[in-house]
């Protein structure tokens, strides 16, 4: 029995997934998680360090790591890479000035060995803002189509209205489930 089989077996029992929420500061990571968990979204402070949320979605237990995106904290992101099944990259669609920054951080993230194989969900958040960029514009600005190393998909959403959050989550959980539990190798 190879190592991978053992891992898979182990996971299968637990039906667990580890999902990492990353993105620039102010993107809305914490707000999205609170909204998904039906918690109050007012009075959220910028994340100093990280939050862990565990919730059950379908038959799966999701262990979600929400790590602060302030510049000072970004060097520490790599401390959370191990055993990550999926990355959720959250973008503030109203923040045109920092799209370049956002693109660079994302692409450098994807070169990480320890994230190889992880599925990538991009949330184009804050669609409720009138001046926000569409998911097509963001896809362009972040050069998503150049990504060959990861299965990815972009969803436009709003953490305030809750629009499309579940759809995004469903997609990424489905991707990971297929890979971890239903692949035949």
């Amino acid at each position: 029995m190879g190592l991978l089989t053992i891992i898979r077996k182990n996971r299968q029992k637990e039906h667990e997934m580890r999902i990492l929420f990353l993105g620039l500061d102010n993107a809305g990571k914490t707000t999205i998680l609170k909204k998904l968990n039906k918690e109050d979204i007012s009075g959220i402070s910028p994340t100093l360090g990280f939050n862990i949320k565990t919730f059950v979605h379908d038959r799966y237990t999701l262990n979600i790591w929400d790590v602060g995106g302030q510049r000072m904290l970004r060097p520490y992101w790599r401390n959370y890479f191990e055993q990550t099944d999926a990355i959720v990259w959250v973008v503030d669609s109203g923040d045109r000035f920092r799209m370049q920054d956002c693109k660079e951080e994302l692409h450098s993230l994807l070169t990480e060995d320890r994230l190889a194989g992880a599925s990538l969900l991009v949330f184009a958040n804050k669609q409720d803002l009138e001046g926000s960029m569409t998911s097509e514009e963001i896809s362009e600005a972040l050069d998503l189509k150049s990504i060959r190393t990861h299965q990815w998909k972009i969803f436009s959403c709003s953490a305030v209205t809750g629009e499309n959050l579940l759809e995004g989550l469903n997609w990424v959980v489905g991707e990971v489930a297929n890979r971890l539990y239903y692949s035949t190798t």
């Binding site: 910028p46 302030q70 000072m72 055993q83 799209m99 370049q100 001046g131």
Partner: protein, 362 residues
């Protein structure tokens, strides 16, 4: 005082309180089984592992032992100092990811150790100059992976011009020596996000006051605010911005605003008058002051007047100074230095130059 078990306990307690589901996983880990669990982050795991491998349970008993023995040998002291310095370094390295509660706990324990060491040293007969600890501390400081302070790293990348010009949101930019109000903002939409950039020597007044300012009747509703590249200016925003404020690259400014979240980057010499319900953030900033939103700029219709009595605007977190000590980059603005309630530039008719030179921080 058994430090490691205390550390573990606080960690368990916290996680249990927050996340019942992770309880067993963490317990598992502690008994050495959770290789697969993935529930405890790598840094925390590493931190804990190292904490366990250090003989720090004995540390306190060794300290006690030495104390009871009378004068301690220099070797014994050196050894202890080295271990305490190691712990100190680990804690410093861990500050970015350890919850603040735990940080404080560890900090307290370390302080006790350090204090004991000081007592031991002063009670030992021979007192050669003892420099080990200091060196150690300096080393740990320089080896921690922190970007240079005060270097605005993002500003070196010019934003793509097309992106900024495509915006459908409201923008006020590229102006100097002007008094600006909401009627100065060219826009197709009346609400949503607002971007203010590239201003010098300006007053921006988006506050409607009882005595009325021009163009203030249809006060714009703002749900997200972006401010960047502003110098020598005063920006007055309403106390009830329904979203977050992001500010980059401000110098010598006064900002008055109320919002859900406040984040300021790469700025210096800014006085902030703030009404807020979360912790304000600064990063790569210096010479910033914080104080409460001015009473006189509150409108009677502003429902959230109680935010004035909240002191959240003083719980500033400086991400360039993630330590228990007070950040050198900001301070509370003393009441004596506040702009007097009647002194705000409400009206277009003010002498711009004189107002700016009188009110702006020096």
């Amino acid at each position: 005082m058994k430090v490691p078990s205390l550390l573990l306990n606080t960690l368990i307690e916290r996680n249990v309180r927050k996340q019942p589901d992770t309880h067993s996983a963490i317990l598992c880990f502690i008994s050495g089984f959770t290789f697969w669990s993935g529930l405890v982050s790598y840094p925390v795991r590493r931190f804990l592992k190292r904490r366990r491998s250090l003989p720090s349970i004995e540390l306190s008993s060794r300290l006690d032992h030495l104390k009871s023995q009378g004068p301690a040998s220099l070797d014994a002291l050196n050894e202890l100092a080295l271990e305490i310095a190691k712990l100190r370094k680990e804690l410093t390295d861990a500050t970015a990811y350890l919850p603040s509660y735990d940080q404080r706990q560890y900090e307290t324990h370390l302080k006790t150790f350090e204090q004991s060491l000081v007592e031991l040293r002063s009670s030992s007969v021979s007192k050669p100059k003892f420099s080990f600890k200091r060196k150690q501390a300096a080393q740990s400081g320089s080896s921690s992976p922190q970007p240079a302070k005060g270097v605005p790293q993002s500003t070196s990348v010019p934003p793509p011009i097309s992106a900024a010009s495509q915006s459908n949101g409201r923008i006020l930019s590229n102006l100097s020596n002007e008094y600006l109000t909401s009627s100065s903002i060219p826009s197709s939409t009346s609400s949503g996000d607002l971007t203010i950039s590239n201003l010098d020597n300006c007053v921006v007044n988006l506050v409607s006051t009882p005595n009325g300012s021009p163009g203030s009747n249809q006060e714009p509703k703002i749900t997200a605010l972006h401010v960047r590249d502003i110098s020598n200016s005063i920006l007055l925003f309403p106390p009830n911005i329904d979203g977050s404020a992001m500010l980059h690259n401000l110098s010598r400014c006064i900002i008055v605003l109320g919002c859900h979240q406040f984040r300021m980057h790469s700025s210096s010499h800014v006085n902030v008058y703030l009404a807020i319900s979360s912790n304000p953030i600064i990063e790569h900033c210096s010479d910033i002051t914080f104080t409460g939103y001015p009473f006189s700029l509150f409108n009677d219709s502003d429902a959230e007047k109680d935010i004035l009595t909240s002191n959240k605007h003083l719980s500033v977190q400086d991400f360039s100074h993630i330590r228990p000590s007070q950040s050198p980059n900001w301070r509370i603005l003393p009441d004596s230095e506040r702009v007097p309630e009647g002194g705000w530039p409400h009206s277009k008719d003010v002498d711009l130059r004189a107002t700016l030179s009188r009110l702006l921080p020096t």
